[in-house]
Structures are given as structure tokens and as C-alpha cells.
């Protein structure tokens, strides 16, 4: 198992290299450059700027240089955020995004799974329909609606009550500042997880082995927890892999609405600004997370289903 784990980590290196290479050249294929503005710069200044950032070199040489720097842990300077290196930008933003994302993930799992399980066990009852309606609502209302709505409720309507919450800013990670963005981030995930859990548990409860467990005279609670639950979690775990990547890399929408200094906005702004190094930095970060979480999900499969064994 551990041998498999380490081998997968080694395989990740060529995978990452492919991602880096494709991203590097795709980025350069896009028209425009980091120093293009509405009013074009004089050609001499443009030439000097390009020279300063090494953009006057042949593309393959830039690529080799970039890889060389990367191997030394240097992601290069940001082209747009002057005086900041990409490492610094990610170093400042990623902890904020990761904290919010992890909190949202935790809440989503903690509420979503019991909610879905409850709905499955009371299938087609009022409680089931109510839970699934709420979940569907959580999925279909986009977070750029939920965010301002929460801000309206807790920032304005409840402004003078004990429930008042700050609607923007990070404030060095003070708890009240985190509540609304984390809720807003978690809501659709609670809904998805609840729906997947419900569907999967209902299916598992119909299996022959659950019937066997009931025929043994085990209390229903034990039938569900011991015999059905583990298998029912497999689709949930499958979903959690990509969901975690999404949550940890920050959401541009939510970080913008709540004014958080996370990295979510870098994905969009970096691309719009042709900030080559920043785009490369966040791409490598996201790709590494995807690779690592896929590995974790595969490990979880082995735990949930003994038929899955890695040699």
C-alpha cells in the first residue's frame, strides 16, 4: 500500500511536467501580453519592459529558463503585481483560501451526509421531500445571489442585533469575518453531498446483503451503520475529490463579494492580465492538488471496498 502510494507520488512528477508544458505554451498562444494597455506604450519602453522580464528571448529559451527556476522553487515575479513574486502572492492568498475552503468542506460533510442519510431512511416522507427541496434550492441558487443576500440579512437587517456579522474583509482571520463566506461556500456542497448520500444509501439499502443483515435480526440502526453505510459512501468520496480542489483553491465570486485576500481571484485576473507567471503558479498549485486528492480518493476506495487492493 505504501509502496503504491510513493509510486503514485513519483508518477505525479511527469504528469505535472505535462501540465506545466501545456499551460506554458497555451498561455503564449493567446493574443496580447502582460504589458498591453488601452493606450499603447511607446515601442522603446515596451522593448525595455520585455527585456527586463526576459520576454525578448526565444520562447523555448523562456520555457527552459522557467523550468530551471521552477526546479529551484522560484515561480518568478508577477508581471502585474509589481514588486511581488508569484510565491509571495500565493503564500499570502492560499492560506486564506485554504482555511475557508477546509471549513466549508468540513461543514458540508458534517451536515450533508447526515441530512442525506436521514432523507434516505425516511424515503418519500415529508421530511425527505423537505430536505431534498432545500438541497435542490441550495444547488440552483448561484452563490453570487446567496452572498449578497446573506450580506443583506446579517449586515443590514440584523445590523443592530446580536446576529450582526461583518460582510466584508478578512480582518486577520477573525471568526465573525469568516462565517458568511464559509456558509456561502458550503451551501451548494451541503446540497450536493446530501443528494448523493441519499441516492446512494437508498440503493445500498436495497442490496441483498442488507437483506441478509436484516434477516439476522440486527437492529435497523446497526444494519444501516455497519452493513450499508460504508458502501453507500463510495459515490460521496468520488465527489469529494474534485469538490475539495474547488473549495481549497478559493472561489473568485465569494472572495470578491466578501473582499477576501484569497487566491480565487488570481485564477481569473491572472488570465485576463496575461500575467504569465501568476497563471502558471496557480495552475501548478491546482494541478498538484488534483493529483494529490485523486490519490487520497483512491486510497479511500481501498478502505471502503476491500475488493480494491493496490499492489
Amino acid at each position: 500500500m505504501w509502496a503504491y502510494f510513493t509510486r503514485r507520488l513519483f508518477i505525479a512528477i511527469p504528469t505535472l511536467w505535462v501540465v506545466i508544458t501545456v499551460a506554458f505554451f497555451l498561455m503564449r498562444l493567446a493574443p496580447g501580453g502582460p504589458f498591453d494597455q488601452e493606450a499603447p506604450l511607446p515601442p522603446e519602453i515596451m522593448a525595455n519592459l520585455k527585456a527586463a522580464y526576459g520576454l525578448d528571448q526565444p520562447l523555448w529559451w523562456q520555457y527552459v529558463n522557467y523550468l530551471g527556476n521552477l526546479l529551484q522553487g522560484d515561480f518568478g515575479p508577477s508581471f502585474k503585481y509589481k514588486d511581488f513574486s508569484v510565491t509571495e502572492l500565493i503564500g499570502q492568498g492560499f492560506p486564506v483560501s485554504i482555511q475557508n475552503g477546509a471549513a466549508a468542506l468540513f461543514i458540508a460533510v458534517l451536515i450533508g451526509i447526515p441530512l442525506g442519510a436521514m432523507a434516505a431512511l425516511r424515503q418519500n416522507s415529508g421530511a425527505d421531500h423537505a430536505a431534498m427541496t432545500v438541497a435542490m434550492t441550495g444547488i440552483v441558487i448561484p452563490n453570487f445571489v446567496v452572498g449578497p443576500l446573506l450580506a443583506l440579512i446579517f449586515g443590514i437587517w440584523l445590523r443592530d442585533t446580536m446576529f450582526a456579522l461583518p460582510v466584508a474583509g478578512w480582518n486577520n482571520g477573525a471568526l465573525p469575518n469568516r462565517i458568511l463566506p464559509v456558509i456561502c461556500l458550503a451551501l451548494p456542497f451541503i446540497a450536493y453531498i446530501a443528494r448523493i448520500t441519499r441516492a446512494s444509501l437508498i440503493e445500498t439499502l436495497r442490496t441483498n446483503y442488507v437483506r441478509t443483515a436484516r434477516a439476522k435480526g440486527l437492529p435497523f440502526r446497526m444494519v444501516v451503520l455497519r452493513h450499508a453505510f460504508k458502501s453507500a459512501m463510495i459515490p460521496v468520496v468520488t465527489y469529494l475529490g474534485p469538490a475539495t480542489v474547488f473549495l481549497l483553491t478559493g472561489s473568485m465570486v465569494i472572495e470578491t463579494i466578501f473582499g477576501l485576500p484569497g487566491i480565487g481571484r488570481y485564477f481569473v485576473q491572472g488570465a485576463l492580465n496575461r500575467d504569465y507567471t501568476l497563471v502558471m503558479g496557480v495552475t501548478i498549485l491546482a494541478a498538484s492538488l488534483v493529483i494529490f486528492l485523486n490519490l487520497l480518493v483512491d486510497m479511500a476506495y481501498a478502505w471502503l471496498d476491500p475488493k480494491v487492493r493496490y499492489e
Binding site: T207, N208, Y209, V210, R211, T212, A213, R214, A215, K216, G217, L218, P219, F220, M222, R226, H227, K230, S231, L304, D305, P306, K307
Partner: protein, 324 residues
């Protein structure tokens, strides 16, 4: 002898989007200790549902009426909680498909021991020891090692032995075996049947053998009940039924069983299809397929009548022939 399990006028119906479907109609059966009752019929004849009702394992959209008594306890009206005190302890079931009937993520030993732990409150150690003894008893080699295996690491035959061991853990008074050999290789089938015979003789339990295979019944059962379209159409001892089946359906079933000692060109079948339970034929449900059908069969339903030798059948034919 008194019967351990007694089914009295059981009716099971399912509510479906197309209306109610009666899968079991007015079935009365009983089994005595140490006796093996074979319940025979085609797929969909209601034989499994009859005993699913006894185990409280009917689907959510099913309703059962009548009585199923285990001694004095009525299983049909019992609460889930009360049912759980006898399921696995006094009445156990062996299911048809051993490949999917064991929990895939639990080790064999734990799945066996939990029956004892639940019903007899034994500790884990005792549970494990007795699980190993039970695996020995059902002739699973290297029992100790198997306890720590997962179901997918065992062959189908071994898994069915594990299912049988599981049913035997508390030495129940009634064992219901629902098509226990259907999913297995022919050679393994024979071994499993030998094992069931052994169990019957050792334990003195009442065994209900649900099957569509008359060969299996002939080998193991003492009495046979034949079901068609949710009703019992004939009942009697194995010897009587096999020697002198009186119901045309039973006769047809027997004729269908391929024999090695008789040379035949083609396999015999019963003409026609099993009836649609939602739209049963009038009168006797079997009349559209019956070679001896006459007018009365289409108009009236024959009731199950006892014959002098303890056999029972639901057919007008003998009466008709006597009248002629």
C-alpha cells in the same frame, strides 16, 4: 408432532403504479420440527414472497394478511423490534445468491459472530471461536484463516456454506432455504444439498426448501407443496407427489424434468406462459395451459381439498372423471 411454523391463509399483495398485484393468495402451510418441506413453483409463483413475509422482509410496497405463527408468536403482526428477537435466533434464512448476499466490506468472521453477539450477548472472543467451529461444521477448510477473509476472496460454493453457517449460528428451529443451489455449479449444488441434509438430521430443525428444481426436492424434502400463480395447487409427501401427482401442473412439472434414463428428442415443456398476476385467468389460474381443461375450470376456482392419503390438490379433474 406439532408444527413449529404455521402459515394460515396468507395473502401478500403489492401496490404498484398499475394497481394492486396479489403475489400470494390464501396460502396455508406448516412445517414440523425435523421435517423438510419443499415449496415448488415457477418464478413469480409467490413461493419466495410467502417466506419473505415470515421473515418480515417484504418490500415496502407489500401488505400481508393472515397469520404466520412461530409457536405462539404471530410474525406478521409483530413489531420490527420483536421480530428481531427471533430473526436469526429462532428462524433463519439462506438466500438464493451467495455472491451478493454477504456484506462486501466486512470480514467473514465478523459477519458470523455478530449473530451470536446480537442474540446471545457473547463476547467477541467466544463469537470468533464459535464462528470458526461453525465453519468447520459446514466443511469449510482452513476455517481459522477464512474468518479474516472478505467475501470476494471466497468461491461461490464457499460463500453459500458461509451463508448456511450464518443461518445455523444460533441453531434455529426453522431454516428457510430460498433456492440455495440455484446460483452454483452442479457439483457444488450436490455438496450443498448434502450439507443441508446433514443439518436437518443433526439439528432437528424444520427446513423449508424453496426451489423450482424438483430434483432438489426429491433428494431432501419430506413433503412438497406446489405453488402456481400465488396459490398452493397440490400438497403431499414426496413419495406420493412423485409417484402419483394429481394436479396437471405438477404432472407437467415432473414431465419437464429432463431424465438421463429415458431417451427423448426434445425437452418437454408446459405450453404457454405463467399467468400475469395483474390479470389472472378466470376460474382455475392454470386452465389456459392445462391439457385436461373443461368448462368448469374456466368458470370456477377449485379449492384445495384433502385426499384420503393426506395429499391435497386444487383440481376438478378427478371429480369430473368420477361424474362421467
Amino acid at each position: 408432532m406439532t408444527s413449529v411454523l404455521e402459515i394460515d391463509k396468507l395473502t401478500v399483495s403489492f401496490s404498484t403504479p398499475d394497481g394492486a398485484v396479489e403475489a400470494v393468495t390464501d396460502v396455508s402451510l406448516s412445517v414440523e420440527a425435523g421435517e423438510c418441506l419443499g415449496l415448488v413453483g415457477e418464478s413469480g409463483s409467490g413461493k419466495s414472497q410467502t417466506f419473505m413475509a415470515a421473515m418480515g422482509l417484504l418490500a415496502d410496497n407489500a401488505t400481508a394478511n393472515g397469520h404466520i405463527r412461530l409457536d405462539s408468536m404471530d410474525l406478521l403482526s409483530a413489531s420490527e423490534k420483536k421480530l428481531n428477537t427471533v430473526r436469526g435466533e429462532r428462524i433463519a434464512m439462506i438466500f438464493q445468491d451467495p455472491m451478493t448476499s454477504l456484506t462486501p466490506h466486512m470480514k467473514i468472521g465478523r459477519q458470523l459472530a455478530e449473530v451470536l453477539i446480537e442474540h446471545q450477548g457473547v463476547d467477541k472472543e467466544t463469537g470468533r471461536r464459535r464462528s470458526r467451529e461453525m465453519l468447520d461444521r459446514v466443511h469449510i477448510p482452513e476455517a481459522e484463516r477464512r474468518l479474516d477473509m472478505y467475501p470476494h476472496e471466497l468461491s461461490g460454493g464457499l460463500r453459500q456454506r458461509v451463508m448456511i453457517a450464518m443461518a445455523l449460528m444460533c441453531e434455529p428451529e426453522v431454516i428457510i432455504a430460498d433456492e440455495p443451489t440455484t446460483a452454483l455449479d452442479v457439483t457444488v449444488q450436490a455438496q450443498i444439498l448434502d450439507l443441508l441434509t446433514e443439518v436437518k438430521d443433526d439439528l432437528g430443525a424444520a427446513i423449508v426448501l424453496i426451489t423450482h428444481d424438483l430434483g432438489v426436492v426429491a433428494g431432501l424434502a419430506d413433503r412438497v407443496a406446489v405453488m402456481y400463480a400465488g396459490r398452493i395447487v397440490e400438497q403431499g409427501t414426496v413419495a406420493d407427489i412423485f409417484a402419483a401427482p394429481t394436479h396437471p401442473y405438477t404432472q407437467g412439472l415432473l414431465a419437464c424434468t429432463p431424465r438421463l434414463d429415458v431417451e427423448t428428442e426434445a425437452l418437454v415443456t408446459i405450453a404457454g406462459q405463467p399467468p400475469n398476476l395483474q390479470n389472472l385467468p378466470s376460474g382455475c389460474s392454470f386452465h389456459p395451459r392445462c391439457p385436461h381443461v373443461f368448462d368448469r375450470c374456466k368458470a370456477e376456482r377449485p379449492s384445495l381439498e384433502n385426499l384420503s392419503n393426506g395429499q391435497a390438490k386444487a383440481c376438478f379433474r378427478a371429480a369430473q372423471e368420477a361424474a362421467e
